[in-house]
């Protein structure tokens, strides 16, 4: 029973890692850039969600969970716009500057976004309004509990990931994205507007990241400005583990990291879980340097 309960706990944490990992993977796919600012865009999703909810609840007096819907749209668009802005200001001018400069630029953006959140919202822990999320859940055989929120989180992240996968593989823009991820110059020769495609990637990645921030904050109920750093780092590792640039890989890597960490924490100690998780990570990378699903280059992204 304990094992199954820990599995449920781990899958929930994994779903969050996977959602955030998508943003790393998409940007890496088209730009070969590790967008370290992604974790902080995700954190901004949580803060903007707080602002949105406060305004929605105060102005409209919503008493139903549907108050969340306009907030989701607000968070998604504003974080997506932040993402595009970051690309315009900090990455595009460095597009031909080799690979090191944009990574440092990304770290700079990450620090700016984190300090900005601290200065705007203050350093104390923020709590979401109570009673917005449904409580209750199922008790499965053997006393394993799955809360309604956990089911919602899992379904929502699966739908977002499936939608993204279909978008990339079944639409014209998605095809263009895959082309750009293979070669910028050849894509340009084929008539693909590379800058526009990159902009779309920076709309979708941070947009999803922002929503992930909102979901995490709704689920846990409280957070502070360091949220982006911890989740961002773990999600980045999940993306590498699954094979960076690969959407199903991000999902697999996130789930795997969440479950390994949880079992490590549950069966040994939370003090040891990172040691265990990263030993396994190093082992996987030694035997599969491109990550678990990373080898099919042509199908990347």
């Amino acid at each position: 029973m304990q094992f199954l309960q820990q599995l449920v706990n781990g899958i929930t944490i994994g779903a969050f890692y996977a959602l955030v990992a998508l943003g790393y993977t998409m940007v890496y796919g088209v730009l070969k850039l590790i967008n370290f600012a992604h974790g902080d865009l995700f954190m901004w999703g949580a803060y903007l969600g707080l602002t949105g909810l406060t305004v929605a609840l105060a102005a409209l007096g919503y008493t139903t969970p549907w108050a969340i819907l306009p907030v989701v749209i607000f968070v998604m668009t504003s974080v997506a716009l932040m993402g595009v802005l970051v690309e315009r200001i900090a990455y595009r001018p460095l597009r031909s500057a080799g690979r090191l400069a944009p990574v440092i630029s990304a770290l700079g953006v990450a620090f700016i976004l984190e300090s900005l959140a601290r200065n705007v919202y203050g350093a104390s822990w923020k709590t979401y309004p109570q009673g917005l999320t449904p409580s209750g859940g199922l008790v499965l055989a053997g006393g394993v509990r799955v809360s309604l929120m956990q089911i919602i989180v899992l379904v929502a992240s699966f739908l977002l990931m499936a939608g993204l996968y279909l978008f990339v593989h079944r639409t014209r823009v998605g095809t263009a994205m895959r082309a750009v991820s293979l070669d910028h110059d050849v894509s340009r020769l084929m008539g693909v507007d590379v800058d526009r495609i990159i902009m779309i990637v920076f709309l979708i990645g941070p947009g999803l990241g922002g929503v992930a921030g909102l979901i995490v904050a709704l689920y846990y109920g409280s957070f502070d400005f360091t949220l982006g750093w911890i989740f961002g780092l773990k999600a980045f590792i999940a993306a590498i583990l699954g094979g960076i640039g690969n959407i199903p890989g991000a999902m697999l890597g996130g789930m795997l990291l969440g479950i390994i960490e949880t079992l490590g924490a549950g069966y040994m100690s939370p003090q040891w879980k990172d040691v265990i998780a990263y030993i396994i990570l190093i082992l996987i990378l030694i035997f599969r340097p491109t990550g678990l699903l990373g080898e099919r280059v042509a199908e990347k992204l």
């Binding site: 781990g10 929930t12 509990r145 409280s222 924490a265 549950g266 939370p270 879980k273």
Partner: protein
Amino acid sequence: MSRKFAPVLLVAILLISLFAGCKKEPETIKIGLEVPLTGDYAYEGQGMEKAVRLLVEQVNEQGGLLGRQVELIVEDDAGDPTQAALVAQRLVDAGVVAVIGAYNSTATEPASEIYNEAGILHITPSSTATRLTQKGFQRFFRVCFLDDRQGLFAAKFMKEVLGAQNIAILHDNSTYAQGLAEHTKRYAEEMGLNVVFFDAINPDDTDFTPILTNIASAAPDAVYFTGYHPQGGLLLKQSGELGLDLQWVMGNACNNPELIQIAGLENAVGTYVTTEPLPKDLDYPEAKEYVAAFEAKYGEPVASVWWLMAAEAFNVIRYAIEQTESTDPAVLAEFLHNEAKDIPGLTGPILGWDEKGDRLGTIHVAYVIDENGNFILNPEQPSP
């Protein structure tokens, strides 16, 4: 700097120092306050600043100390040991006589080394890690009580009031929380209780369901969490959501209304907190007068006992300066060690300090969170 400007600058400096020498005003007495104004504990630090500032203003309105105005210099250590060392040096350089701070033991520890070396009187309002006073620092004092006392109280409370036989203890690896956890474990085992679970969380985590599931499978009669309120709140929330039947008892770092906000009221009800009494429950005229003055000035209650303890630290410094008519830290420390007895304190009469600088006596009590989200004094307390 070019050679041309050097003489000009020299003359300017001479002139300025000439005017400075002419000033009739006596020099201010500088008191330092080192608290976290940002970071996880910003709520506490900001309240502590308000609490001390109120007393400083009162003193200055009444003509200051020894006829000199008191100047409060506030530095933000963010609860972080590296930054604590940095700002401690800044306070020393500013020429303070005494320092109040820091909030958490992890920040107090490196700062105390610097104050000790500089020979400054250092009083912590809230850092309760036992080892802070075991370094032989002659000018370091506490106005709070030791973790060791709280550990004894917590073990007694779980045994006598909750009737627990098997207990779980959880800390967060910080200096303070680990110390309190280990003292509690030692006293609990001396009293014949079984400690069936003893481990730490990583306070950077957000999800504690793995360890909660683990604690539940050890089936303790009570769980004592010794860490801070952001994690305490998350533990209560996730424990409630997992439907675990755990009786939570929390240490004094969870003595904070934000605990209930983070946990959600339905998950926090029935949780006990071992702590110094809340400001509103203190039955001394000095306490009542101060609490009323604080509310009148800031329009909010003294929400945390640590705010009051910070004010108490200032109160002690003032008392020592008035009694000795000196601002020499050596004289003040000597006075507090050997002569100070029954000081009329905001947190009850201060009996004095032992040779290590630990405050004598104890005032711990247990609170319980009621259905309205208030911390109320638990009707049942263990034997003294």
